[in-house]
Assembly symmetry: C2
Homo-oligomer: 492 residues x 2
């Protein structure tokens, strides 16, 4: 672990890449744009999955699984959706390899095994799912359908970054079907709220809930809702989206139901998803120049205990105490790692567990044994304290809660101090270019102006925040009237 | 739910297909050979996953995730493995679609977006994983690596059956790396034992543990161990495999480690997997002509309670009691469904929950309320009894355990009465053709004889059971000497 540390202030992007690699979260693979999620990174993702899955099930959703492949004819059925994803589709054209006659031992695609119809590796599953729902839905009694899928999807990307933008990524995608527009919109909002709750209470990342502009909408949606977080470099990250799909997919796949009044109506749809991109949010929102900082609720290891002793007789005594302590903490539901590796110095271990973001580090030596004390260090503030071994399990439990709260409070404080309300173009430019962060400004509501602002500043409209009230104002660029502020930022 | 029932004795295969469909487990999709796993089926798979995942983690394994795609050059590196899977590979050749100039609104593969190197959709992940392990392993300190992956894989199949053989399926694949041959073999056997434990104690399916013949070995393995179950039609089903891969992949991908003695050695490997095929085993081993029969440990709904009342005043009273009872059972950790649907008769509901394999059905009406009793019916034996409402939670808990045990005992009894030890060709033919089941017989150990027997009878060697002792005998076909019996059967 000879790691050359790059500070956030020097090169945020390089700092991020190094951190993902050095903390053993993920790495690039031999497949362009695809990542390997390493065990430590995957353990964090599993904790996210568990928290989300519980919330989905508590709100009546069930998991299911639909095919990886979408036949081209189904893929193109909903035109806007197809158009939106066409440029980034991995396409399966053949189903067999054969020995290369010119180079034995090598394989080649068997030209005789060409598929009659190409298969698209799903970039999202609306098409295959709505084609299936047609058979599942006859009458109002079959509605709602509330299904979620945990899956891998592929969107061919030329410029990739670990977790943030990869050709293959893992995600969950909810796909629901409803009898009425109102119910579908209610579902869309409900899931947005679940994402926000998860982001704030588990990831400890404060988010703005809002609606995307037409330009930024999911291809095939009538409305896209999102949660947007602010990273430490002042750039925004879209962390989850929930789409009201109207009757677009029902019409494309002819999914109708018989109402109580015996009429045939098209079904209303939603879809919603979050992905391994959340790992990027987690990393970029909390971590520091020494490495990852994990909120306790997502830390695979919440507490690491390091025995400190040089002489052999002391080692045994200290290790006994450490093991007893670990047992005591585990009984309280705390996940504990004892680091008793013999070939490494305490200092090396401290640095390694800091790099990996373990929220609480405990160190205990012979003198602590005599005093019945232990040293506790917090990863977030780096504060150390000597505490009594009596009741230390409660001390640690409280500390974990404090760290969780503190990470959220820090992130919220950062966001609040990097959210700027501006009313003129000059103020806007200054905020975007120099102050960085979220910029709340009036905009005339047209796609043209949105594009122009993006061209001039690289800032995009992250969303129209749901909390924003109607107010009269004038567009920062065109001076035309506006009745609501939009939230701008440079973004990932 | 107007279901024409086919009996097992009439057409086992049709019975299976109907059951999978009618019990809402899975269905065929628009993609040839790929299935949709429906919520009820997926809930059972999730319970299997949880049980397996716990066992993997308890034995020191961690989950990770590797890319869906394998570049062709990596795929072909381990020649035997590549040869074994080449004929069933889905191949991605392009990464973009474009609008079809001859038919606007339709898409076509963009010929300009041809990949330089084709990507294979993983049929198994040894190649991509061992290519990664090369960078992870330098010295003996990096070993063992104990990793599992939950993933989808694709093996192009022409003749598919839901769960048993599908082009895409879900599975877990363990991939471990070790310093010594002995440790790798130990791991291989450990995982086989975990699969056997899971099969017998959770699926309630007795299995034979054994070693595959060279013909039936995993492509690229030095030895393949397996668990084999016996289905109710007398056919065997391979339920899981654990492979000792020797140094084959280490050599193909040049993965060496520095020993304590400072020498460079190739690393030893194992891989092991079970898949959604286990759903097929579960269904075929226990179910009956009325539908699915689920072992309580895998039942998403363990108890269904059906209120029986006609008059409105009685309805309210009965429903109150039912809800109270459901709460009481849930507190004991039992998963309960109350079926209070108003538009269906009790008889209809009974049939539906029988079809879905719910282990325990409870029905309660106004007279029961007076008597403080309730009717309990077991799915496995169809026995009904009236029991006291007092302590009914304990009664149900005991019953669930009894049902779990009884399913295993029944399956074991069936297997024991369908395992034949034979010593002549005529006895062998009679056992395979007429008696059906497992046939234990001497075989001369050659691939030619194995092939010949398969041609003549369609029976294959399922494995050389690990429990079989050395004994002298003569091959049933060739009369040549043999020192161990092999286990034959017709198989899925």
């Amino acid at each position: 672990m000879e790691i050359k540390k790059v500070k956030r202030s020097e090169d945020y992007s390089l700092w991020y890449n190094n951190l993902v690699k050095n903390a053993d979260l993920a790495e690039h693979s031999a497949v362009k744009g695809c990542m390997v999620i390493k065990p430590y990174g995957y353990a964090i993702w599993e904790k996210m999955q568990a928290e989300l899955d519980r919330r989905f099930k508590e709100t009546g959703h069930q998991n299911a699984y639909f095919p990886l492949f979408v036949p081209k004819s189904l893929f193109e059925a909903e035109e806007k959706n197809a158009e939106g994803f066409a440029k980034e589709c991995a396409v399966v054209t053949h189903y067999r390899l054969k020995t290369n006659p010119d180079d034995k031992g090598k394989l080649m695609v068997d030209p005789e095994a060409k598929l009659e119809e190409e298969l698209i590796v799903r970039p999202t599953s609306e098409a295959i799912i709505w084609n299936t729902y047609r058979d599942w839905i006859q009458s109002y009694r079959d509605l709602p359908i509330l299904i979620n899928q945990w899956a891998n999807v592929v969107r061919w990307e030329m410029r990739t970054r670990l977790f943030l933008r990869t050709a293959e990524f893992l995600w969950q995608e909810g796909h629901t079907a409803h009898a009425t527009k109102e119910e579908a919109i209610e579902e869309t909002i409900q899931m947005l709220n679940i994402y926000a709750d998860f982001a704030e209470n588990i990831l400890a990342v404060p988010v703005v809930k809002g609606v995307k502009t037409e330009n930024e909408r999911f291809a095939g949606a009538d409305d896209t809702y999102c949660i947007e977080g602010l990273m430490q470099d002042g750039k925004a990250l879209q962390m989850g989206t929930s789409h009201f799909l109207g009757q677009n997919f029902a019409k494309a796949f002819n999914v109708k139901y018989l109402t109580k009044e015996n009429k045939q109506e098209y079904v209303w749809a939603t879809s919603w998803g979050v992905s391994t991109r959340l790992m990027g949010a987690l990393i970029m929102c909390h971590s520091d120049d020494d490495g990852l900082v994990l909120p306790p609720k997502l830390a695979p290891i919440q507490v690491v205990i390091i025995p400190i002793a040089r002489k052999d007789d002391e080692k045994a005594l200290v290790l006994d105490k450490v093991n007893e302590l670990a047992k005591q903490l585990k009984e309280k539901g705390i996940s504990v790692k004892v680091d008793s590796r013999d070939n490494l110095t305490p200092g090396y271990k401290y640095a390694e567990w800091e790099l990996k973001g373990v929220p609480v580090r405990m160190a205990i030596g012979p003198r602590d044994l005599q005093n019945e004390t232990i040293e506790i260090a917090r990863r977030d503030t780096k504060e150390k304290q000597i505490v009594s071994l009596h009741g230390v399990d409660d001390t640690v439990n409280k500390l974990l809660l404090q760290i969780q709260d503190n990470l959220y409070a820090q992130a919220l404080q950062y966001r609040n101090s990097h959210t700027w309300e501006v009313n003129t173009w000059d103020e806007f430019l200054d905020a975007i270019e120099n102050k960085t962060g979220f910029v709340s400004a009036h905009w005339d509501g047209t796609g043209e102006t949105e594009e122009k602002i993006k061209e001039l500043t690289k800032a995009t409209i992250r969303c129209i925040p749901m909390a924003n009230k109607e107010e009269t104002g004038t567009c920062i660029l065109t001076g035309k009237p506006s009745n609501k502020r939009a939230l701008f930022a440079k973004a990932y």
